[in-house]
Symmetry: D2
Subunit: 364 residues, 4 copies
C-alpha cells in the first residue's frame, strides 16, 4: 500500500526502477517564489553519481535531470515540481542468471515473496539507484531552507571500513569533506579510508561505515510532538535509505552510559537567545529543535553486492546454491550515501518547518 | 500542526497532560471481531506503572483504564476504541518554582518557546506520563497481532548504567525478563543493574541504558517501500518515545565495521520456507520483513530529572541560575520504557500488516 | 480502515456509540494561545441537543461536555484538546427486536455486513448522535476562525417538507434564523415549515429539506489545488454527515442551465480588494476562496426512522417482514443538522487556513 | 501546502501545466500482477482528447502517453506507476495580453493572489488540461476494478444547455452513450444537445450541464465511516474537478422533498443477497456501499472561456476593463468531463476497496 511518498506539508513522491525507462520525483508543497534552476538539481545529482572516482561504481550514468513542471521563468509557482532522469547506461544481462537466486543482503527475496511479479533487473525498485529521486527532492528542499533560513546541511563520512575520523570537526572542515572522494572531514583518515575500500575491493568484498549529518541554523521550535517529533521524523526518513541499519542523535548510544548530570545540557543565553551550552541532545529536546546544530549519525552496512562466493537458495529448484555477483558495484556505498542523507534531512526539515509555520506554504 | 496521531491504517491518536484531568488514546482501524476486555489494557498499563519497585518513581497512580467505545460484549466492533485514565495522585506544587527556569534535558525550554502558553505542571504534555496512551494503543495492537498471527513482542533491558547483559538470550529468557524489576533477561546482570540504579539514586543522579525488542512470528512481506519501510516506520515510532536517542536494527552500528561477506545473511529453506540463516539484517531486508525475528535496539538517555545542582537560564530575569529538581522521579527510566517500546513496535506492526493485507481491515 | 479522523493540519478524531459509555472528539493542531472555555463547547452542543422543541426528538440528553486536555487556565496550549460527553438517557430496549431486521434508510444492513459484530443499540456508531463529536470539533474551529479572522459561519434551513424560504436573506436575517425552532431566516416560511413537520409527524412519517451555510470574512486564497480544493474538502466534510445526499456551491445545479456569459462573475475592486461582483461561484474559483461569502447548500433526506410500516428482510430467517419503528425520533432532522453543518464548514476552513499559512500552527 | 495527491491506499499524485513541458501522474499502491499496457491508458486519454468533434476544442494535442515505471513485461510490479504526456501543440501567444487581467470564471485571480508568481499560459496548473493526469490515474484504477471485481463505471450526459435526457436509461444505453459526441444515453436528446452547444458557440457563449456516473458490481461494504464514507470521498474527488459546482447521490436534492416512507428503500433478498429494492440511496447507506448500483450526478458550469465581452479588473492599473477571450475553447465541457468523472469515481473506489480489504494491496 502506497509507501512511495514522504512528508505531509512538503511531500516528495518518487518512482522508477534501476533499469527502467526513467526515475523521478514530484515535490508538492514547495511555496511559490523560490528561485530554482535545472542546475540546482543537477549539481546535487552529480554528487551522488557513479563513476566519479575509482572507489565507486563505474556505471557511467549521466543522470541529466529535467524539470517538467512547477517552475516558470526559473522560479517556483507553488504547483508540483516534477523532475526526471532517463536511464541510459543500462546493462541488464548479468541479472538474468540471478533471477531465481536471491542475492544475500539484497531485497531480492523479500520483493519476490511480497509482490510476486517484479522487475529484477539491477535490483529494480530496491536498487540504490532509487536514491536519485531522493536527491532531486532534497535539492529543492535545500534551496528552500537556504533561501528562507540560511540553513546549511553537511553530510560527511565519520567511519569507513573501521577507520575512524577525528572527532568534532569544525564547520569549515565539514564543508571541506566534499573535496575528497570518501567525503571525510579528516584528510588523514580520508586516505586510510580509501585504502580500506581498495583493500576490500581487491578481495571482492565490501565495507560499511558511519555518516554524520549536521544542519546549521535550524531555528528553535521545529518538530510536532508527540509522534511528529523532529528526531522521530528524521529517524524515519534516514532509515528509509537502503543499507542504513541505525540512527542516533547527539550523544546517541553513548548517552546510554552517561550519568544524567553529564548528559543534560545546561541552558544559557548565547547571542541573545536561550541555547544549550553543550549539545548531547543533538539539537532536539522533546522532539523540538533547540536552535543548536542538529547532529545525526547513521550506520551504513557494507555493500551487499560482492564477488566473494555466497550461499543462497534457488527458489525454483529449492536447492542450496553458491553465487558470485559480478558487475559494476561500489565496494563502499558510504561516500555516495552522503548526499542522499543530506537530502533526507533537508526534506524532513522543509516539511516540519512548513508544518510549524516557519516557512509560508504558499509563497516566500 | 497535528502531530499526535500515528499510523495510517491502524491509527493511535493520543491526548493528555501529566497533571491534567485525564490521558487517553483512540485506536481507529482495529477490525471488528477481536476479543478485547478492559483487563487486557489494564495488564499492560500495570507493567509501566510507577510505584512497582523501589527503583522507579513512587508516584502512586492507579491508572485505572476505562474503555469508552468501540467494544460491545467484550468484542471490537470496527469503530474507534477510546480508552482513558483519570489522573488522581497529582501534586503540582513543586513545579511552580520552576515555571520560568527550564529544566536541562527536559522539553521545558522548547515547549515554552514554541507554544508560548503551556501546562508546565509535571512536564505537561512532554512528561513521560504521556506514554500511558501509547501503552493503551499498544495493548490493542498486541492483542490483534497475537490473535491473527500469534506474534509475540518482548522488550528487555540490554544495558543499564554501564552494566551489559550477556548477549543473545534465548526466547524463554526474554520472556523471563518480565520477572525482575529491571526487565533484564540475564538475572546476574539484572542484580548489578539494580545496584547501578541505586547507586546513582543515592547521589541524586540518574542512569540510562539500552532496550532490546524482539518480535517473533512476523510473516515475510511486512513493510511498504520505499518510505514506508518496516524499519523506517519502526525508527519513527521508537524515536518518538521521550528519552530515546538512537535506534538500530540487527547488527546495527556494528554492521558499519563488518565486511560484506560477513554482514550478508545467507539464504536457505528452513521449515519449508525461505529464511535467512543468520540475522544481521534484524528481520528486515529492503524495508520488508524476512520472516526472521525482528530485532531492534534503542538507546535511552539517563532521566533528566536529578537533584544534583544544574545550571539553567531564568527566562524572565535572563540570569544564569542553579536549580535542583526535587519530587518523585525515576533514577532510571529504562525498565518503564520496556512496555512502551513494545507498544510502539506493536502499533507499527499492526499498521503495516493491515496496510499490507496481512490482517483484514474490517473484521477478523 | 481508520476513517474516523478528518483534516490534515487541524484534525478532528471522533469516537462513540449512541448508547455506549461516552462520545467525544480530539482536536489536534489547534494553535496555543486561543481562549477556550467549557461553555464555548457547551453552547454549540446545546444548539444540536434533542428535546429543545416539540419538533425534534424528546430524548433528554443533557450532553454536558468536559474538556480533558489541551487547555490550561482557559487557554489552549497547542496540545490535543480532548472533549467528551457521557451518555445518560439511554433506553436500548426498543432495539433488541430489530437486531436482525435492518431498518430501511439506516446503516443497519451495511454495518452488519461489513463489520459482522456491531453495537446495534440506538444505531450504534451510525446514529445521528455521532454528530455531537463533530459539533465539539466545530466549536473549537469556530472559536479559532473568529479569533484570528473574524469569520462567522451561519447555517439555516432553506427548505423543509417542500416549504421554500424566500431567497437571498441578508446576513442579519441569517443570524436571526437561530431564534426559531426550524432555523429558517424567513419567519413566515418558518411557520409553514413547522406545520409541515407536525403534519408528517402525526402520520408517523418524516420530511427532509435543504440547509444553507454561509461563511463570511474568509480571506482570498484558502484551498489547495488540485485535490485539496476548498470546495472539494467542504464537499467531503459535509457529505460525511449522515442523511446528506447532495451538496452544491454558489449557483450549484442551477449553473448547469446558465450560459457562460451569465454564470461568470465579473471582477472589480471593492473596498480596495479585487472581488467578484456577483457570487455564482459561491466564493470559490479554481478551488481557492475568492474573498466573497462562501455559499454552500446541502440536501438532507427525511429521517429514516418512521412508525409507518416498512418492508425489510429478517437476516436470520431470510423472510420478508414488516416493521414499524417506535421510540423518540425526529420527524425532521434539518434543524438539528444546521449546527453540525456549520461545524463541518468550520473544521474544514480551520484545516485549510492552517495549511495555507493564514493561521500560525503553533501559536496565535 | 501539498494538495496534488488523492487517496490513501491507492494514491494518485499529479503534476503539470497546460503549456508546460509535460503533464503526468504517479499511481502508488496498485498491487502487483495486474496486466497493464500503454494502450489501456491511451484509450482512456483518447476519450477526453480535444479535437474529436466540432463540439469541442480544436487544440490538436496527440496526448501520447508513456509508462515510465511500475510495469514490467506488461504487468504491474507493485511499485509506483508513472505516466506522462508531453505537450506539443502549444500556442501561448493569446495569453500574454491577459496576464494582468484575470478572466472571469477562471482561477486567474485566485492563483495570482495566492501564489504571486504563476505560469499564466493557457491557465497553467488551473487549466482543464490538468485532467489528463486524472484520466491516467483513472485508467489504472478502472483496470484494477475490472480485473478484480468486474466493476464497470459509465459516465454520461444527463443534461446539456437545458436539454434533459430521458430518465433512467438501462445499462446498455449508458454504454451506448460513448458513441455520440455529447455522451448522452438518449439519442434523441443527444441531437438537441448538439444543437444547443452549436447555438451557444455561434454566439461566442457557452453552456453547462449535468453528468451522471453509474458504477456497477461494487460489492456491499465499501466505505469507511464516519469521515471516509464512500459518498464523502466521492464528493471530494468529483468536486475537485474544475467546473463542477455540485454533486448528489441517488435521489439527491429530490430527496429533500420526499416523505421518509417514500425515500427509504425497502430491503429484500435478491439473487441470494440482501439488497435494496429501490435505489433512492444511490448505492450507499451510512457511507457504506449497499451492493446496488452506485449512482452519482455532478453539476458542470458553462465553460468560462467565452468570446462575449466581459468586465474584469486590470490588476496593475486597477482600472475596470472589458475583455474578450479568443483561442480554441470548448463551448461545452460536459462531454469531455465524462471520462474525467469516471476516472475520479474509479480512483476513489480503488482506494476505498484496498482500504476495506476488498483488493489485496500487494498482489492480485
Amino acid at each position: 500500500m502506497a509507501g512511495n511518498m514522504i512528508g505531509r506539508a512538503f511531500t516528495v513522491s518518487t518512482f522508477g526502477e534501476s533499469h527502467g525507462v526513467a526515475l523521478g520525483a514530484t515535490v508538492d508543497g514547495c511555496p511559490a517564489g523560490l528561485e530554482l534552476a535545472r542546475e540546482d538539481i543537477q549539481d546535487e545529482l552529480d554528487r551522488r553519481r557513479p563513476g566519479t572516482s575509482d572507489l565507486v561504481s563505474q556505471r557511467a550514468e549521466k543522470d541529466r535531470v529535467e524539470i517538467l513542471s512547477g517552475v516558470f521563468d526559473d522560479m517556483t509557482t507553488g504547483t508540483p515540481i516534477h523532475m526526471a532522469v532517463y536511464n541510459t547506461d543500462v546493462d541488464s544481462s548479468s541479472y538474468a542468471s540471478l533471477v531465481d537466486r536471491p542475492r544475500p543482503g539484497h531485497a531480492d527475496l523479500t520483493y519476490r515473496m511480497k509482490f510476486g511479479h517484479r522487475d529484477y533487473r539491477g535490483g529494480g525498485r530496491a536498487s540504490g539507484r532509487e536514491t536519485v529521486s531522493r536527491v532531486m527532492g532534497g535539492a529543492v528542499a535545500k534551496k528552500l531552507l537556504s533561501a528562507t533560513h540560511d540553513i546549511t546541511i553537511i553530510g560527511h563520512a565519520i567511519e569507513i571500513g573501521g577507520v575512524v575520523a577525528s572527532e568534532d570537526p569544525d564547520f569549515d572542515s565539514l564543508v571541506g569533506s566534499r573535496d575528497n572522494p570518501v567525503r571525510c572531514a579528516d584528510p588523514e583518515a580520508a586516505e586510510r579510508m580509501e585504502e580500506a575500500i581498495r583493500s576490500a575491493s581487491e578481495e571482492g568484498d565490501s565495507v560499511g561505515g558511519i555518516v554524520g549529518i549536521v544542519a546549521r541554523n535550524v531555528p528553535l521550535g521545529v518538530g510536532e510532538p508527540v509522534f511528529g517529533k523532529l528526531d522521530a521524523e528524521l529517524a524515519k526518513s534516514l532509515v528509509s535509505i537502503g543499507s542504513v541499519k541505525g540512527v542516533e542523535f547527539g550523544a546517541g548510544f553513548r548517552s546510554a552510559r552517561m550519568a544524567g548530570s553529564k548528559s543534560n545540557d545546561a541552558i544559557a543565553e548565547i547571542d541573545g537567545k536561550p541555547r544549550l551550552i553543550t549539545n548531547n541532545a543533538g539539537g532536539v529536546l522533546g522532539g523540538i529543535s533547540t536552535g543548536n546544530d542538529l547532529v545525526v549519525r547513521i550506520a551504513v552496512k557494507p555493500t551487499p553486492s560482492i564477488s566473494v562466493a555466497q550461499r543462497t537458495l534457488d527458489m525454483v529448484t529449492k536447492q542450496d546454491v553458491e553465487i558470485k555477483i559480478s558487475g559494476r558495484h561500489d565496494p563502499c556505498i558510504v561516500p555516495r550515501i552522503v548526499p542522499v542523507a543530506e537530502s533526507m534531512v533537508a526534506i524532513t526539515l522543509a516539511d516540519l518547518m512548513i508544518r510549524g509555520g516557519f516557512i509560508d506554504p504558499s509563497r516566500i
